[in-house]
Symmetry: C2
């Protein structure tokens, strides 16, 4: 029996927004109810090559398959004409341990599950009438967070704040071409939106908590290692509700952990994001809400399995 390898084109076609949103929603809920098995990720660093590798495994308890996902980020690659991110997903039977298939997705499923998780949680936590979105960052996730949220609720304006104005402009052009109103913005403007999503690899907060308006919701998706940090501790102190996709993981290497270590909040001040996807949130109009998403291995497992079942 030869190993089954599925290529990016086939995976891209199978991983429709509907499939991804439904699967990620179910997996976030299962994770919030303790119905998943997610061991601590494995990390390797390659400082000389400005690279790192994360390996995440996950299992929705009782599911037929589990997955092991390898994701690399080598940040000097664009200079070599290669993409920064690479990776693949191994789908393994949870009944026999046999490798069912390799999804040679080059990071596509991670990008889509991250987009889906951000959009679902932002939509669930933001005020129903929130219509403006501020985005920090101008990369792939900046684009995906805006366009996937626009599938869930109408957006009047997307304000893109990127360090590189050329990239921010290009992203706005791309979103406009997709029919989404977007323009480059200062950090202050983006921080003043109804909803804010941060998508950067920043090592220090990208916005000033004092610039966030009453009634806003913020979702941070870029912080996935202990040295990274996008959302300031003062913002967590102002928050009426804090959601984390995985409590232990966000404490260890999310923005929530930075806020706890800074003394801004207590380490049990969060609830699990998946809980908010089951029942609508009854939030005061002036409350600030914050979600810290670090990426959960169970989402990879659920999504890879759903894609494989469709192929």
């Amino acid at each position: 029996m030869t190993l089954r390898v599925l290529d990016t084109a086939a995976i891209e076609q199978a991983a429709t927004p509907k499939l991804v949103l439904d699967t990620v929603r179910g997996a976030l809920i299962a994770h919030s109810e303790g119905g998943t098995n997610v061991p601590p990720p494995l990390h390797l660093d390659f400082p000389e090559a400005d690279g790192d590798c994360h390996v995440k495994a996950g299992w929705i308890t009782g599911a037929a398959d589990f997955t092991v996902k390898i994701a690399t980020g080598f940040y000097g690659n664009p200079g070599l004409g290669l993409p920064s991110n690479h990776g693949l997903v191994c789908v393994v039977s949870a009944r026999t341990g046999q490798v069912r298939a390799i999804l040679d997705d080059r990071g596509l499923l991670t990008a889509r599950r991250t987009a889906a998780a951000g959009a679902l949680v932002t939509h669930a936590m933001a005020r129903p009438d929130a219509r403006t979105l501020g985005v920090f960052g101008a990369g792939e996730q900046a684009r995906l967070q805006a366009s996937w949220l626009a599938m869930l609720r109408p957006l009047d304006m997307v304000l893109i704040h990127g360090r590189d104005p050329y990239k921010a402009n290009a992203l706005c052009d791309e979103l406009n071409a997709d029919g989404l109103p977007a323009r480059p913005a200062s950090a202050r403007e983006a921080a003043g939106a109804d909803m804010i999503v941060t998508t950067t690899p920043a090592a220090a907060p990208v916005l000033d908590a004092a610039q966030v308006r009453a009634g806003a919701h913020l979702t941070g998706i870029g912080t996935d290692m202990p040295h990274k940090n996008e959302l300031p501790p003062a913002l967590f102190r102002r928050a009426w509700l804090i959601a984390t996709d995985d409590h232990a993981q966000c404490l260890e290497h999310g923005d929530f952990g930075h806020a706890v270590r800074a003394g801004a909040v207590a380490q049990d001040d969060d609830i699990t994001a998946g809980l908010l996807l089951k029942t609508p949130l009854d939030r005061p109009d002036t409350a600030i809400t914050v979600a810290d998403l670090t990426g959960v291995g169970a989402l990879d497992a659920a999504l890879a399995s759903a894609v494989l079942d469709r192929l």
Copy 2:
């Protein structure tokens, strides 16, 4: 660019004993000198299916590639007509993070690097005139430990102690057919040999320390999870020299850790096995020596890379 997948037959042909022994020897030495990067492994358990999955990553510092290895053991598989162990190795560039190839080896390289590490360390630590080998267990590693050690030094007799007498007999027939004198033996007989290798998944010691003779060397290779234990703490107390393949890993989930927690030895009473491969060991004839090998990810990295370079 499609993902390169190498099948078991090609890998088996490339992974000759000479290549494996040379590579594993070099990797154990590099590991003992701090020249490797081996993050803590990732584990997943599937109690209902009597299965587990280990993911190990490793990098010989400065090497062109690193590896991520997925290994599963599902112990009810033989009843389903499937092998208990499965797995594969991903070889990834340490310069760009691109996946160079998947070695679909079904656990072959792990079996061979374990055989090589056991044989090299046993040969380096045993008395030069040690000629009898006691083996606990009658599975694949029992066979490999005997036959690979026989490549390094002559063996007068291999004493196989297996829980299942039928399997022990069958293994002796197989070794005899390969020209190696072997017979089934009681635990007492096997524990009385010049060299003893334990290759079981036991959760309690498989031999009585009092039955081990002065001048003997013992190598444990089966203990790879905290609940497993093959060599008794009392044996470590009798030992003149204790070697571990990885100090932290053996403390956490090796026989050495059991001995430390039982108070038989101190947690810095070991030396790194790779150090013994560079210079011959000057051991007293009556000393007992013990090696605890839990399997190091850097060996997988070195071996996979060497095999890939040959293919």
